[in-house]
Symmetry: C2
Subunit: 326 residues, 2 copies
Amino acid sequence: MKILTLSQLHELIEKEIVDQKKTLEPRELYEPIWYTLENGGKRLRPILVLMGCQLFNENIELALKPALGIEMFHNFTLLHDDIMDKAFLRRNQPTVHIKWDVNRAILSGDALAIQSNVYISSTTKEVLPKVLSVFNKTALEVCEGQQYDLNFEMVDEVGEDEYLKMISLKTAVLLAGSLKIGALIGGASDQDAEKLYSFGYDMGMAFQLQDDYLDSFGDPKVFGKKIGGDILANKKTLLLIKAKQLADEGELKKLNKWFSSKKGNPAKKIKEVIGIFIKLEIDKYIRGLVHSYSKLALASLGELDIEDNLKEELTQFTNSLINRVS
Amino acid sequence: MKILTLSQLHELIEKEIVDQKKTLEPRELYEPIWYTLENGGKRLRPILVLMGCQLFNENIELALKPALGIEMFHNFTLLHDDIMDKAFLRRNQPTVHIKWDVNRAILSGDALAIQSNVYISSTTKEVLPKVLSVFNKTALEVCEGQQYDLNFEMVDEVGEDEYLKMISLKTAVLLAGSLKIGALIGGASDQDAEKLYSFGYDMGMAFQLQDDYLDSFGDPKVFGKKIGGDILANKKTLLLIKAKQLADEGELKKLNKWFSSKKGNPAKKIKEVIGIFIKLEIDKYIRGLVHSYSKLALASLGELDIEDNLKEELTQFTNSLINRVS
């Protein structure tokens, strides 16, 4: 069975985005859609759709349009999240609501979501109901995750479990759903599709926690973003939640002071907060969690009824995600 | 064949909304959805789904969830349009972005759109691809219509054809699509479904133009809204577009003055503008268009291969829409 590598899959996605680009009217509606889609990114979710498919079917062409649909859905959520989060930049480019305005960001996001439905529905009559059922459930969960994330800004304290639930909804379920949708399109049994979902879910948790880890402990030379973005934004990540649990009175006072406002010297804030994190061994704690989740992911993979060389590809992929530096 | 009346269909929809209501978490996300759905309205679109179905199938239960899905989609567009239009009230209640905030209005709107997909997909494997194809195409067109409407605010002049295109996208296609989706679910042939679409499209044009007409020429005692809302909002409706075409120099000057700002005495503005409309016989012109479109609609209905008593129901419905006073 011919297996495409990660970079070959990535290339397929990029080519499909170029091929699908159309100049439609009114351009005010469609311009921001392609601006967003062509702005790069890891293309992680559509790659997972293709990977899920090629585990069960040589013809990954079957999954190409649905894969693009998943990437469209992901970009739609980013587009709207950026309005809600008042974000100015996305992948080093001005966000849509900054480059144009909030109305165009709302409306072109809506149109992008509808386009994503069109592409995800591009599958056979046989699997369509199952694919849509996974997709719609996942899409709703992603909205729930974003709402919990918004809620966290309004409260003083967030629990570890609450945080893990939020990232599971906001991130993990879409990685899991992408694999499951690909598998269903490829002809997987319900059981195998479900195991792949479990694999993707735990891998997604590891992925997001590694993201949080890198924000404080990434190498500035290779990370691609500035270190400490979450700290400056006073985000209640698991790093902060855990640090507050473990801090002594003095450390807690310092953390509460820094996270009570967005004022103060940014460089000093980042340095002092990360200093506390290191002293409390938060870096080790988070990396430990990343490893635990990736172990869970690989255990689900082990139960999957596919050839070992196919599993090898997903194992490598998982390892590359949890050891990534950017 | 048992045919349910308009009010029986309306009742079915209202009951289904009550039946489907769930208290889900996070409540910040789901509360605005049910606030919006329970806020009444004509329920025109879901009724059209049921009507489309019952022309071809006695079992309209088949179409009940998709009908609710269409109503959800419509309410999603209203929810987001109200943010874009900075509207304070919808059906005499505070809009979602006013009652809560813009972020909750964006996100709960997104979730409502996804919910609408769930309900619209609640149909058999056999018709699902066709239903989704009609729905997604229509949904995208509704976004295009809203974008043209937003564009009109930025330009000095809008042509009659441009205006008709905008309302066709923003309103007519969803009424048409609702009937077509219902018909497909009921088992109609592609040809009959298409004729019903044509009927719905022209009826939708008549419906929207009657809406515009009532804003200036409705009876304040029964209209339900204040007369002149479009005039005070400087909306470039067909009434204004046509009046500018027909106006003499003096009238054109007055119209341009009134529509160049939102200042000035509101009552005086409404009185003077409607005075010009009447002098130029804009009321007759718009009512003429309403009749032309309803004739076109009834002609499509005539071509439909169904029993005459079923056509009678739709004819009455069309007449009630174009002669409505509120």
